[in-house]
Each structure stands twice: as structure tokens, then as C-alpha cells.
């Protein structure tokens, strides 16, 4: 009974949202609001049923002064200051006016960067402790599970989140796992404490679709009805897009004149794929090998969608010129490789080489430990680039963990750099973030201090940790 009521309600809301969509809503600030649907969203029954309830934490007008600022938007500013006001970066430069009511933090000897962004995280869906009951990241029941949404697995009390924040990470994309050709929808979260995942959701961020190339789907389904081969994988993607295109047409036809006929039956998986075809959901595809990425670019062309980024692209350096031309992000580790055949050709200069070829180079973790040290990852990759003879600067390398991932999420207008008007997501580092000895001292999200290494009271503790874990994310007792 109750179930059918909820369904009916969802259907009813669909009409309302679709009607609103024509109104041309403008994106508001980072407070909860409906996702502004793109032009194609008219055909989506409900674009935003799990609306963000995030509200910025209370903040004070703050100035960090006399620090080295890596803005990710230009040359470094030595002895610079940043003004955080009303959740935004109000000013940045060598000489800025300090408001009388501002909290002033001396950044002498310290560095300031934008909050780091990890576009490949499984926190909350593979929570700690990593017990069977917390294994919610892979709906490995059939090769196409485009119908699942990662947010429905996210446990906001995962103790990995506060540790991630302590590493200077302020925004994460949580992805389903890579067992499936189509793994399901991703969700973009702010790394903040909340009672529900809705309270962490980045308002207005587009959804992503997780897809996977190569060995994983083959391995998982090889003896379970397939795909058993890479050609099986390709057939699986193409058939799904054919179905999605038919679905999109049927809905678009209906919505062009809803009075004419009954609406087609909704299908959660096809709805997600149709939204990709309309450009409203961004494709994030796990793909190691260069030749497979090239095939996926052709599949994307065949069906008229764009791939936002290839993840784990250990061979991106082999086709960096092509990826640059096609505006595809390349999401890479600094130095992982070799753990399976498709990862064999991982090289440490990958980030630097793809960046220098003009592609959008992005560092990622896929790992709850590595994600706490993305600054160390880009430092390793920068050193490898230099060793390979490329002139990589810290100004360039910081982009791999800030503005470039923001771009791949469609959020480059709001986060990823220290520029006037952007969200005040900022990290104060104890020293040069490219040094192994440096820690994040303070982390702000939307202007609010959410982590302070020196103050255990300013270190978020999840419910799980109470009584179980006697340490804070900053390592204090």
C-alpha cells in the first residue's frame, strides 16, 4: 500500500518539476535548491527526488594573511591574503582591505590552496570498517545497473569522511564500483557531517554515470551469462544506448504534448542513460587502456554523448593528444599500476605528460588512504614529470587536484580555485603542500572552519567512532 503511494507521489511531482523546468531557474548559491534541469530534462519524470538539504555551516568573516597562495588560477601569490566572507572568497591578493570584524589568521610560512577535490571516491558506499555489511558499492548482479544511485548506499557516518576532510579534501564524487558496464549514478558530496546523504549533497551538482571498461565486467560476468570478452563489453554498451535512445524519443514525444497520450512507463536505468544522451548527466568511465578509450570515444560519437572523464586511465599518456582534442578529462593515480594486465603500463609521468599535451589532468584516489594525501600524490607526479624532462610548476600541479577535477564535475564556476566570488573552500597548509612533512592545518568549506588540526574540538567525529574509536581525525586522543 504504502509503496504504491510513494510511487504515485513521485509521478505527481514529475509533472510539477517538468512544468517548472521551462521557467529557466538560475543556479542559486550552495544552499539547497532544485537542480535546474537542462533543456532535455522536460522528459525526465523527476530530476531531483532526493534534493540536497545542505546548508553552509556558520562562518565568520576571515582573513588569512601573509601566506603563499596557490590559487589554481594563475601565478602564486607570495605574502598574500584571502578574505572569506559570507561563504565566498571576497578578495585575494597581496594587498587587500581587512574588514574590522574579520578573524585574522597569520599564514606566515604557510600555504593556502583551494579545497582539494577527489572525483573518484567510494567513501560511504564502502565504509569503514570494511565488513560485509558495509559493502554497498557494487550492485554486481547484472552488467547493466544504470538504475542504481550511489547516494542510496552512502552512510554519512563513515569514519573515512572526517579523515578525508583532514587531508584538505572538501568535495568528493562518490561512485558505484566498477564491476558493471553501467555501474549507476554517482553523487557529488561536500565532505561535511550530516544526518543524511542529502545533507552532504552538493547543491546543483550534476549527476555522473559510472561506466567501466575492460577486465572487471569480464571477470565478474564471464561465468554468469557474460560479457565474457571485451567484444562482449562493447556490445553491452551499444545495445544499452540503442535502448536508451528509443526511450528518450518516446518520452520526448510524449512531453512535447502530454495531453495527447498516456506517458510511457518509466524505467530507472533507461532514464539515467537518456539523461546522458541529453547532456544532463556526465559520464565518468573507468578505462585503463589507451586502445579501449579510443573505442569508447567512438561509441560516444556513435550515440551522441560526451565522456567527461576517463578514470584510472593509466595509459592516457599514449593518447594524450587525442584526449586533449576531444576535451575528455583524464583521471589518474600518481603511480599505481601493474596489479592487473590492463594496469601494466602505468607510468609516473602520466599526469604531467597528459597535462602538457593539453588534456585536463586530474588526480584521484579510489582509496580511503590515498585520498587523505592528494597533495603528496600530485607532488610525486610533478617530480616524475620533471624527471621525464617536462617543466612542471607547482602552479600547474595544484590544478590536478583542484580546478581540473572541478571542471570534470561541471563545477568549475563555483569551486576549484581561489578567485573572487568562488565558494570559500580553502585549505591552510602547515608548509609547502608538496612536502612530505606538511599537513593541512585548517580546512574551510563555504567559509566555515570544518577542520582544525590544532583543536580536537574542531575535528568531526562520526557516530560510529563514539565508543569505538578513541581518536579524532587529526590523530588526537
Amino acid at each position: 500500500m504504502r509503496k504504491s503511494f510513494v510511487l504515485a507521489l513521485a509521478f505527481a511531482c514529475a509533472g510539477t518539476l517538468a512544468a517548472q523546468a521551462g521557467g529557466g531557474q538560475k543556479p542559486a548559491g550552495d544552499t539547497a535548491h532544485k537542480v535546474p534541469p537542462g533543456p532535455g530534462s522536460l522528459s525526465v519524470p523527476n530530476a531531483d527526488p532526493f534534493t540536497s538539504t545542505y546548508k553552509p555551516f556558520p562562518s565568520k568573516t576571515t582573513v588569512i594573511k601573509n601566506a603563499t597562495i596557490l590559487t589554481a588560477a594563475g601565478p602564486r601569490i607570495e605574502g598574500g591574503s584571502v578574505l572569506l566572507k559570507d561563504g565566498k572568497i571576497a578578495a585575494v591578493g597581496k594587498d587587500i582591505a581587512i574588514p574590522a570584524d574579520a578573524v585574522v589568521i597569520d599564514g606566515t610560512g604557510k600555504f593556502v590552496t583551494p579545497g582539494l577535490i577527489d572525483v573518484h571516491s567510494h567513501e560511504g558506499v564502502y565504509s569503514a570498517p570494511g565488513v560485509e555489511a558495509n559493502s554497498d558499492g557494487n550492485e554486481a548482479v547484472r552488467p547493466n545497473t544504470a538504475y542504481v544511485w550511489a547516494e542510496h548506499s552512502v552512510w554519512p557516518q563513515d569514519p573515512q569522511f572526517p579523515r578525508n576532510l583532514a587531508g584538505g579534501v572538501t568535495t568528493v564524487q562518490i561512485l558505484p564500483g566498477s564491476a558493471n558496464l553501467f555501474g549507476g549514478r554517482s553523487v557529488v558530496l561536500k565532505v561535511v557531517p550530516a544526518r543524511s546523504v542529502q545533507g552532504m549533497k552538493f547543491p546543483g551538482a550534476k549527476y555522473g554515470l559510472k561506466m567501466a571498461c575492460g577486465e572487471n565486467p569480464k571477470r565478474v560476468y564471464g561465468n554468469r551469462g557474460g560479457p565474457q570478452t571485451r567484444m562482449g563489453n562493447l556490445a553491452g554498451y551499444r545495445q544499452a544506448w540503442i535502448d536508451a535512445e528509443a526511450y528518450r524519443r518516446a518520452w520526448d514525444k510524449y512531453l512535447a504534448d502530454p495531453s495527447k497520450e498516456n506517458p510511457p512507463k518509466r524505467d530507472l536505468g533507461l532514464e539515467t542513460l537518456a539523461e546522458v544522451l541529453r547532456g544532463n548527466i556526465l559520464v565518468h568511465m573507468h578505462c585503463y587502456r589507451a586502445d579501449e578509450m579510443m573505442q569508447m570515444l567512438d561509441v560516444a560519437r556513435e550515440f551522441g554523448y560526451h565522456i567527461s572523464a576517463f578514470h584510472h586511465s593509466v595509459e592516457a599518456y599514449k593518447i594524450a593528444d587525442i584526449l586533449a582534442k576531444d576535451s575528455v578529462g583524464v583521471v589518474e593515480w600518481s603511480d599505481w599500476g601493474g596489479f592487473k594486465m590492463e594496469a601494466l603500463d602505468g607510468i609516473e609521468a602520466n599526469l604531467a605528460m597528459t597535462d602538457h599535451a593539453g588534456a585536463r589532468a586530474i588526480v584521484h584516489s579510489d582509496d580511503p588512504s590515498v585520498t587523505q594525501r592528494l597533495n603528496q600524490e600530485i607532488s610525486k607526479a610533478m617530480a616524475a614529470g620533471r624527471r621525464a624532462g617536462l617543466d612542471v610548476t607547482e602552479e600547474e600541479a595544484i590544478r590536478w587536484a583542484t580546478i581540473n577535477p572541478a571542471w570534470s564535475l561541471g563545477l568549475a564556476d563555483r569551486i576549484g580555485s581561489i578567485e573572487q566570488g568562488k565558494n570559500a573552500d580553502v585549505v591552510l597548509w602547515s608548509g609547502d603542500p608538496f612536502s612530505v612533512y606538511t599537513h593541512a592545518d585548517k580546512v574551510w568549506i563555504d567559509g566555515a572552519v570544518l577542520y582544525d588540526r590544532m583543536d580536537p574540538k574542531q575535528q568531526w567525529r562520526t557516530d560510529f567512532e563514539l565508543g569505538f574509536v578513541n581518536l579524532t581525525a587529526g590523530g588526537s586522543n
Binding site: 569503514a128 570498517p129 570494511g130 565488513v131 569514519p159 573515512q160 579523515r163 577486465e215 571477470r219 599518456y317 599514449k318 593518447i319 594524450a320 593528444d321 603511480d335 599505481w336 599500476g337 601493474g338 596489479f339 592487473k340 594486465m341 601494466l344 603500463d345 602505468g346 607510468i347 609516473e348 609521468a349 605528460m353 599535451a357 584516489s365 579510489d366 582509496d367 580511503p368 588512504s369 590515498v370 587523505q372 594525501r373 603528496q376 607532488s379 610525486k380 610533478m382 617530480a383 620533471r386 624527471r387 621525464a388 624532462g389 608538496f434 612536502s435 612530505v436 612533512y437 606538511t438 599537513h439 560510529f464 567512532e465 569505538f468 574509536v469 578513541n470 581518536l471 581525525a473 590523530g475
Partner: protein, 427 residues
Amino acid sequence: MRATRNGLLALACAMAAFALPAQTVAITGGTVYPVSGPMIKNGTVVIVNGKITAVGANVAVPAGAKKIDATGKWVTPGFVNSSTVLGLVDVGFGADANESSSRGQDDISASFQPWLAFNPLNPLIPAAREGGVTTVAIWPNGNLVGGQGAMLDLFPGSLPEVLLKAPIGMAAEFESLRSAGVGSRGELLGKIEELFAATKQYMANKEAYNAARMRTLPYRKADLDAMVPVVSGVLPMVVSVNSAADIQEALRLSKQLGFKMVLYGASEGWMVAKEIAAAKVPVLTGAMNNIPRDFVELNSRQDNASLLRKAGVTVVIVGNAGGGDEENFNVKNVRFEAGNAVGYGMTWDDALRAVTLAPAEVFGVAGKIGALKAGMEGNVVVWSGDPFEFATQAEHVFVRGVEYMQPSRKDLLTERYKSLPPSYYKP
């Protein structure tokens, strides 16, 4: 894997061209960290015929020596990564190219000697070496008693040539119930006690056992033989365990059964650091673990290694944070693990010791490697700066006095794809 051995031998001959022959080498002008003694400014290290012959501030450079100017550089012993499967695994999974685990019998494979399958020509070895690692310990994976470890130097010689010492310890799993094939840790410890009791029986009645005048013990004879040095307190048992309570139980058992112990992991070691120090039990652990990954390591913390050291425990730094594969593909990263230990409170000198002399002492090869002093193997690294920093490169790496210039597979791929499209005909 075996079928390719001949091919690899052919490759070895080709690779010999990359090695400069052992000769007299003098590394001069650098800041020298001998580890066995205080830092030497403007020091000289002399290597003759593969061995270090002199280290100091006022050392004469032998006539005809190949001189390496290390002015502004840092000179250390070659680094040791004490927890690897290097040379045993070509590809982790999906390729049938992994020699690191054995089947055993009833979760016991004490007789397993993984180094017998060690491939000195494994292409990941040059990658480890160019990162300043000259020595590794290799260990088996899986089982309650998984088998024996070995320590080897990283150069393309034959197995007897590269082996520094084998066995160096017996790997045992005191935590993973699945690996140990049990339902609870209580059962696990019971199985260890049974194995010890059987080995003692076997030792006391060896002749009768061999003549079949004694009842058969439920273990393979080879495993009982392998357990003898462990039960006798000669060969240390390297025990994987994390929780404070389990560490205490392991300490108790080691005392009760009289075996030498080394702890591996010990995430919650800091909570019982004094007890570990009092028992003189060394610990192999990482410096980046702070995730309550399991109910037996809820209180993991990044400064665990540092707190253990401060309590007087001998600490060997290894990479075991999970991601990143410091056991094979990224063996080189042990130096960054050490850097992180410093970031979390360990002294720089202690961190250097934890990746050089400390493992050499723990595994009984301190007379050969781990320090820069006369008589030691010529395992020496000249670094462009602080070896724990990412920006620093290992500029010269000597293994037994020889500098191997062989590029790693990663270097070859990097070179090939520097300009696009690549040529598939140039190396």
C-alpha cells in the same frame, strides 16, 4: 612463468650491458648518513670490489677510483623494503603470474620457500632500484603459517648470488580468520599451540618418527622440519596482528611457547607500546594507517610508528596502508612512508634507521647491509636532497658496488610516448 625463463636469461645477457662493472668508486663531498654513526659533512665513501672500504671526512681517494662528486647531495645506505613480493609477482591477478602463495595443508605451509621462484630479472626490480631500494625482504601470502621469508639484494644475478639470507623468518597470520582457516582467534591460537606441541614431539622423537615407530602427526614432515628453528627460538615468527588485545595475546604466547617474535602491522601497537618494548619485540609497520578498517584496528593512527619508537620499540617502516602497492609495483615508495613517519613525529634519524639498519638488525644481516661502514656490501645511494621528499631523486644507486643504469619498464614507456604519435621501432 617457467616457460619464459630461457627468454629472461637471454634478456639478462642483454641487460648486463647496462651495468658498470664493479670497480673502485669514491663518492666525495656529500653529506653522508652512515646510520651506524653520526652524519658526516663533506664525507667520502669508498667502495672497492663491491664492498665499502672507507667512510669518513678525511678519507683518501684511492688512485684510479671512479669519482662521483656528491657535493650538495645526500649519501645513505641503500634502502630496505622489508615487506614485498618483488620478483614473485609479475601481475597481481588475472594473469596467472603470481608466485607468492602456496596451498599448504590445513592452512599450514611452514616449508614454503617463495624465494625459490624469485626472478632476479623481474622488470619491476629496476623500478625499485632506481628509487633507491637496494634490498628487499620477500614474504609468502596466505595461510595460518604461510612459509618463510628471505632477504635479497636487487641486481640481476643468480638466486644464490642475490640472496643475503634465507630464511629470515616464518610468516604467521594471527588475525585474518579466513587466511588461517579458522572461525575465531581463540581457535587460531589453539592451532598454533597444537603445531608447536607437535613440532616438539617430533623434535624429541625424530628417529622414531622417521622409522615410523611413532604415531603420525597431522602435519607434513617438511612443515615440521621447517618449524624446528621457530620452536627452538632461532628463527623469528613474523606475526601479522593489529589489535592491542591480540598483540598482548601474541606476546603472551611467544613467551609461553618460547619463540622469537616480530610483529607485522600492529596498528594498535601504540596502546601497548611499553609491553612490546619490554618484550624486545620489533615491529614492522607503516606510517599512513589511520582508518578503522576492521574491528581489530579501530584505533589505527598515523603516528603509531612514531609512538612505538618513542616507547623504545625497534621499528621497521614498511608500506601497508592498503592502496599504492608498496609490496611490488611501488616498492620504491618506502622512502615516502618513512617521510610520513617523520611528518607524524618520528625523528628523521629514526626514520632513516627504520628503512636501513633496523631491518638489517631485525633479520640478522646487519653485518652486510644497512649502514655505511668498512666491510659492508657496497649498497649506497646518492640522493639529490632529502631522500624522504618527493622532489628528491636517487641519482646514483650502487648495489654491491655496481651502478646499474638499466632503465625500468616505466622509463622505456615514458621515453617512447614523449612525442605523439610514438614510433614502435625505436626502443
